[in-house]
Symmetry: D2
Subunit: 349 residues, 4 copies
């Protein structure tokens, strides 16, 4: 049993971590901080938690340093560019850290990070040892790591959709199309015109065409899997719903695959993965079937006479796309059962 800490507990990702960790069998105590609400009780901000802290915390939000001090594993759920110093601190004190911002998603590649996030690395040594926290790519490295960069939500959906064919060099790597759609929780807790119900309800549109920050992260994962540069066209859209991401991915096959062959390839690649469900042939992935759970559902299709692979990848952006995957990483870091605390059965509706 460990003590887990959350720095930034009152953002959407933070409170989703609280939901998962108060019920986690390996977590004895929980320590919470918030800059905006320091000194207040998280239950007053999120009344869904009323009576649900289960003796693991009194709910009072402290400062960040107190969380580091109290915890064995620290989660940082902060705006980009702030987690580095906590990571360095955790390493110094023999603690582990899972960061949910972009800060450790580019490892030693400071140039790309800086180009997209306008900030240099201040603790390069931490980046030199941090591990990208996608268990389906890096499970063994994660187990031994001290600092984890938890992947982006869109990125998880897109990468899992492409790993099997990229690893086997089966698709044209110039101009893979990731047409992705996200629920509005992806815009976070800060209210904006974008997430105002009056404008986002009964409405749908793409945004950030050609310049969304998840593009370089997807491209990086794909290039690692393929062993060469992969060119990804990534178009995010905002859905009139709260939770869920789908990526509809199109890739030209180097040589045609039958639908059976394509399905078999994915089924084999993910056979031992606890959180990737390759759906039976004929099914199509949908956000509904994964809502509230840590699953990524994948359906595999071929179109244009078998010349193009079409993969649909669906996950809950707040769970497998954020907090759930962070807990999965914690489970690996701590030697817990990989599914501990994130084995919720998704509801039918």
């Amino acid at each position: 049993m460990i003590t887990a800490g959350i720095i930034g507990a009152t953002g959407y990702v933070g409170v989703e971590l609280v939901r998962l960790l108060v019920a986690h069998p390996g977590v004895a105590k929980l320590s919470l901080s918030s800059v905006s609400f320091e000194g207040q009780n998280i239950v007053d901000i999120y009344p869904n938690l009323f009576g649900q802290l289960r003796g693991k915390t009194d709910g009072v939000l402290s400062g960040a340093d107190a969380v580091v001090e109290a915890s064995d594993v620290v989660f940082t759920a902060l705006p980009h560019g702030i987690a580095e110093k906590y990571a360095a601190d955790c390493i110094a004190k023999g603690k582990k850290l899972v960061d949910l911002s972009a800060d450790f998603r580019f490892d030693e590649d400071e140039a790309t990070f800086t180009a997209w996030y306008n900030k240099p690395y201040e603790y390069p040594a931490v980046h030199a040892e941090s591990v990208y926290g996608l268990p389906e790519m890096n499970r063994e490295k994660i187990k031994k790591a001290r600092v984890i960069g938890n992947p982006g939500c869109y990125v998880t959906a897109a990468t899992l959709a492409l790993l099997p064919v990229l690893e086997k060099s089966l698709v044209d790597t110039d101009g893979i199309i990731v047409d992705a759609k996200s629920g509005i929780t992806g815009t976070g807790r800060n209210p904006s015109e974008k997430n105002n119900f009056s404008e986002s309800g009964e409405s749908f549109a793409p945004y950030g065409i050609g310049n969304h920050r998840h593009q370089p992260e997807i491209a990086r994962n794909c290039s690692k899997a393929a062993g060469k540069d992969v060119n990804v066209i990534f178009t995010p859209h905002l859905l009139p719903m709260s939770r869920g991401i789908i990526a509809t991915v199109y890739a030209k096959l180097e040589k045609p695959l039958s639908a059976d062959e394509a399905h078999a390839l994915y089924a084999a690649r993910y056979a031992d993965e606890p959180f990737v469900r390759v759906l039976p042939k004929g099914s199509t992935a949908t956000t509904k079937n994964v809502r509230g759970s840590n699953f990524c559902d994948i359906s595999v299709h071929t179109v244009n006479g078998g010349k193009t692979l079409l993969v649909v990848s669906a996950l809950d952006n707040m769970v497998k796309g954020a907090a759930g995957q962070a807990v999965q990483n914690m489970n690996l870091l701590c030697g817990f059962e990989e599914t501990a605390g994130i084995d919720q059965v998704p509801a039918a509706f």
Copy 2:
């Protein structure tokens, strides 16, 4: 043909006025102002208007004084407490003004206004002559007025649901219950946690129990209709949808009415009203059937063995509950056909 002006054109009520007035057959020119966006073009803020200004305005947002100067009728769609000086100015210059805030909803009753809006009257002479703009109560007065206080959205629904029985003294006036539900556009353009889709979608709750500012306005209208003090219990709720208000109203009947008698009473009261549709017996009012239109649909029911009257009143909070009613008032002020520019047929879905 007149020139109409909107002070506060970029709030939700303001832009809904623009939608109605650019297509209004009696409006030749439109003059627009905005504090937040002065100097910008309204089309850049609301691209739904792209190519739709129809030669009535170039879309550039000026200051408020320029609007008063240019216009025959001025609409003020501003936060509470600002319209008074524009009203005084309009009177001085021989122009007319329709205010969509609460500033002129209490006429000479400064005490109630101040108690609920924390602000004294600065131009009492204007209040002395202003008219409350509910055509179904005050049509003839409106025609001759110079300053109109456009009613609140909830208030319009609640008042229209109760006028017929209050005017005839048929119900117990202590503790009439108005259980009302509004779409999220009622919270306006300013983003907040309340209107963030992530929290307001798939969610429903009352708010402002016992202390919403529309309560005294409803009570005031009811008291005027009844000729004595009426006690209203008003509970607003926020619906996970953009447009629409329903008031479910419960009033104890002084003596039982049959369903037929109750229906006949309402049908007779509103027989000549162009925007109140008393539905056939057996039908129930729903927000869907009035969306985007200026109608208030009313269905009349009796319950508890005929001892209690139950009235359902539905309207679009942005149209009959705000901008549409303001245009109805303008039509009366200017001698236009009362339905001019607000005769949209509601869609089925």
Copy 3:
């Protein structure tokens, strides 16, 4: 560890039971039937369950008799009027049954049941011993029962909102108003114009005014609590969302209560209830905070100068309003921890 069976596993209530029971620590095996889909696999109908049967069932849908045979506790999730024979059968075979239709909600009061459901009792002996499954009213009786009538969704919300004041005779029992609003899952799996998204989205209306079948059930519970006849005006409305019920309840107080007194009364009444959360003063119950969980949140207010009590009661209609409460009853019947398998932490969004 028991074997649980669900007759009618493919309706909405049925599949929600599956979600809860596959993860229930006291359930070793699960047996499922469906008339519509006999012989098929539930995973093909509800792909959210893909890979989630956890060794408790192979998912194949049998006939109802096979479920009775295989199970220690049987859940019937069927249209009204069918469960009686299964109940008789269970009693004969020493098994227990929790029925989620209305069939056992009126105990020995056949007259009321028949008046509202158009069907006489065929097995009166079963009704003579069945127990109404609202643990907050009947916990000790439930523990010893063999047949449980699980309460209606609206009914649970309304009854819990009123129990404390009715038991103490604090309110006028003629004309208590229950203005209730439900998510669309309440209309069930059968598609209809009513639940077609195109008509129910962006729409809100009451239905069944004065003649909804939950009215007599609410009145019956209230009368039992009050020890005399209680007259309830019940108005259900359909919300444009999937899950959640709120009842906004208005009752005239026999003598005024302060807000503190009213709150203290509810807090005391439900102090030991694991699934009723009386919110702190100043909070308002909302469906969002209970979604997916077995909680009923209650907030207590006084209005109209303290003369009227206003209680807001919120629950998830599929959980505390149906499947979750059925599992709570199973836990009581079997001597499990009352919260076993239904202790999900509600999410913030």
Copy 4:
């Protein structure tokens, strides 16, 4: 002034036609039929129309032949495969017909129609003279036609997104990707599990991957515009909202275009089109801005280093995607102003 008739007035497309035609300045009388509701009044089925028939019809639903008899222009809004005989009848009687099914979307190409709709042509002579009703492609032909095949909803969005570059042979025509998303009204009035709010709300997924009937229609239009065979990969998705379609279209450019060049090309192509709004550079098309109107908004982007053209095309599937475009065709057929009756200003929310 003409008499217009609608055969199939109670489906979603039919009732949307009623909404537009009761307010159309060129329509004096309206004649309505329905197989399902013959003899009933449309107002009882669609109470949004209560009091809104404006003297053009009494609302009584007759049989189809009576509509043909009474009308100058007939709209058929029927399932596929039924309109042919009415078209032949109209030609014989000197009337005009606009069909909103797929029956006349393939002109003389019976083979393709039969392959996708499983039905041979029964009146080939009618198909030989029918005109495909996309005014932006066929305006002059439409004006002289007697029978019009109104385009599919997805098809209109996709075709308008691609016409300018196909006509100029600027893109690779093998494997153009149309990733399209539609609101739920596209599934029509018949309730199904697909459009049940409980399953379609808070949910998103593709459907009909690789085999949707709008694929051959899009390909046909594209091939005509390009003057050679075009290969289109079309993936429709269902959005949790009522109205609106977006197509996100990806096409490899034969040689790179700057963003300015691409925008200029579209702006020039559609400069005189009353219902295509090419948005200013930097804007992105969204369904919100066209809801309820006959506009198709188009935004033009280049991605992947200028090697790929990305076009976003948004329209209201019930208006420009169906009933509005049919009225636009009627206007052309009858020599009315092309925008008559379909010049609604879209609302901001």
